[in-house]
């Protein structure tokens, strides 16, 4: 398996505050990599650096084989992104959102059309196709946002707390979509603070105060920390935090 994300000694400081403190890790192709941490632990900042949204203070990293410092434009072409804020255009119709993002990622009209038909069929969205996004329930919107983020078949998709505010069943369905994506060769990099979701990941890293305190498969982590579930692992590590959550 080859490496899709490779990060070495990555650091981000805002003035005196070190948001991300010297983190190093690798993500393999086709993996679901969980990026956990309490609020304010620095996971969003780290993810933003990987997406080219934020310039690292120190360290280096590559995403999809491109340097995040020198080739941010090439990085951007090879990734998808879905943020915790719901990120579709609410006053556009479902298919218009797909068409827009397809266009932004340079897909051809024909390709956009075929993939839209295919996606609507797969999600059972035929009836909602012509509706404005704002009229859809949150669970639908999240599925749609995820579909948009992988519409151009990126090498890696970054999901920043994608399932905030929905019930466990909807979350479970969402995760089924994530599995489908990895089956088609997309690497998934996901932040969450639902510990049941952590169990679904191939490997999990836990950030505390800007540093990665633990990184392993959920099963190994539970064994190492002698815990029944991921929640206990997380509690043990998070207790070390001196930073105040916001």
């Amino acid at each position: 398996m080859d490496t899709v994300i490779k990060v070495e000694n990555l650091t981000k400081r805002f003035g005196d505050f070190t948001a991300v403190d010297n983190i190093t890790f690798e993500v393999k192709r086709g993996e679901i990599f969980g990026f956990l941490g309490a609020n304010g632990a620095g996971k969003t900042t780290a993810m933003r650096m990987l997406c080219g949204l934020s310039i690292p203070t120190e360290g280096k990293g590559t995403v999809a084989g491109y340097d995040i410092f020198r080739q941010p434009e090439l990085v951007k072409k090879s990734i998808g992104y879905m943020s915790q804020k719901f990120s579709m255009y609410e006053d556009l119709k479902v298919w218009e959102n797909l068409e827009l993002f397809g266009g932004i990622y340079g897909m051809h009209d024909k390709e956009i059309k075929i993939k839209t038909d295919e996606l609507m069929g797969r999600l059972n969205f035929e009836e909602e196709r012509d509706q404005l996004v704002k009229s859809l329930p949150l669970g639908f919107k999240q599925k749609l946002a995820f579909s948009v983020s992988i519409f151009h078949h990126p090498q890696v998709v970054f999901l920043d707390e994608p399932t905030g505010g929905v019930d466990p069943i909807t979350r479970r369905r969402f995760w089924e979509m994530i599995y489908d994506a990895t089956a088609s060769g997309i690497t998934v990099f996901v932040t969450t603070h639902y510990m049941d979701e952590a169990e679904y990941c191939d490997r999990v890293s836990i950030m505390v105060d800007g540093r990665i305190e633990a990184l392993d498969s959920p099963m190994n982590l539970k064994r190492t920390y002698n815990a029944k579930n991921m929640d206990e692992v997380f509690q043990q590590l998070a207790r070390k935090s001196t930073r105040k959550a916001d």
Binding site: Y81, K85, S87, L100, G103, I104, Y105, G106
Partner: protein, 368 residues
């Protein structure tokens, strides 16, 4: 290119689906023109006059008839004593009083001298000044007709001609003003709000993570408001020519050129505001307070710049609308060509270049 077109289409969807806003934007110039043209008219027309003449004689009657016959005045009340005049002013039945001295006609005939007192309701000083001017004119004219040679032989009578706007129509002044204001409102305010909205909604993040070039984002945000501004420009032109009867004396092409230049300046202002703020409310406040008020007060639209204190006169140099309105007046009303507005054009080009340079530099490709 495909990116750009997909994005421009999206921007048009945003605007066209927000029906209320689009209606407001399209109707605003119409409403403003109607308001300024009819409701807030500073033209003197059918001003109510109260007259007091104790001795009704030939000369007083003739003057009163002339006043009544002119389109500026309407003799509404005939008073019998000074209390009647007070009452007429208090009840709003008159804006101007003409008081003839006793034995007006006789005095005029025998001594060559007679007095009329003009009393004006000066709660609106501008209006009072103009109708006093008209009333004095009517009286002077009567006097000249009466004795073209003898009595006035020693006096110098100035003959006043109102150049470019002989009827003193206020439309000649406010049409350029409304143009200057609407463009700022639509280009600067709406553009900045549209960009800031993406920041607020979180969609800007998605755009920044995408391979979308920032310049495309900017261009496509600008495109629909550019189209709207051109539509509004056309609306104002049509209304002013066909409803207010303000002709375009100069070349339409010159007028259009100057207007496009001004739209460019206004759009770059909007862009700058959007890079400085992160909430729609802040963008609205800055454009409202920071742009609308200077445009209204310091551009010469309502108050003449020449009468301002030196400090405000200095500030007014930085208000783009001031230069635009001046150029529009020169071309549209005076009928002069682009050559006459080189200074205005130069200042606007300079402003646009500076603004667009600053805002493109500040438009963040990365979020900190």
């Amino acid at each position: 290119m495909k990116q750009l077109f997909s994005f421009i289409r999206k921007e048009f969807h945003h605007i066209l689906r927000d029906k209320t806003t689009v209606m407001i934007l399209l109707l605003m110039p119409v409403i403003q023109i109607v308001l300024f043209g009819f409701a807030l008219s500073q033209e003197v027309k059918d001003t109510k006059v109260v007259v007091l003449a104790n001795t009704s004689d030939d000369a007083t009657r003739r003057i009163i008839d002339r006043v009544d016959a002119s389109e500026y005045f309407d003799v509404a009340v005939v008073a019998h004593n000074s209390n009647d005049i007070d009452a007429a002013f208090r009840d709003g039945k008159a804006k101007l009083a003409m008081v003839f001295e006793d034995h007006f006609s006789e005095n005029l005939k025998h001594t060559g001298k007679a007095h009329i007192q003009l009393i004006a309701d000066a709660t609106d000083p501008n209006a009072a000044t103009s109708f006093l001017f008209y009333a004095s004119n009517i009286i002077t004219n009567y006097q000249q007709d009466l004795s073209p040679t003898q009595t006035n032989s020693g006096l110098i009578t100035p003959e006043v001609k109102m150049l470019y706007n002989p009827q003193m129509k206020s439309a000649f002044n406010f049409v350029p003003g409304v143009l200057g204001m609407i463009m700022i409102l639509i280009c600067a305010m709406m553009t900045s709000i549209a960009i800031v909205r993406e920041k607020e909604m979180g969609t800007m993040e998605i755009l920044l993570v995408s391979p979308m070039k920032p310049i495309y984002t900017i261009l496509s945000k600008i495109a629909p408001y550019f189209v709207l501004s051109v539509i509004n420009f056309a609306t104002i032109m049509l209304l002013s020519v066909f409803v207010l009867k303000v002709p375009i004396a100069g070349s339409f092409i010159s007028l259009l050129t100057v207007s496009l230049l001004y739209i460019f300046v206004a759009l770059s202002l909007g862009l700058l505001i959007s890079t400085l703020t992160s909430s729609q409310l802040a963008a609205m406040m800055i454009s409202g307070m920071g742009l609308m008020i200077p445009v209204m007060l310091l551009s010469g639209m309502i108050f003449p710049i020449e009468n301002m204190p030196a400090f405000l006169r200095f500030i007014s140099n930085f208000v783009p609308a001031r230069w635009y309105i001046d150029a529009v007046k020169t071309i549209m009303i005076k009928g002069l060509g682009l050559g006459a507005v080189l200074k205005d054009v130069g200042v606007l080009v300079l402003m646009g270049t500076v603004l667009v340079t600053i805002s493109l530099k500040k438009f963040k490709v990365r979020l900190g």
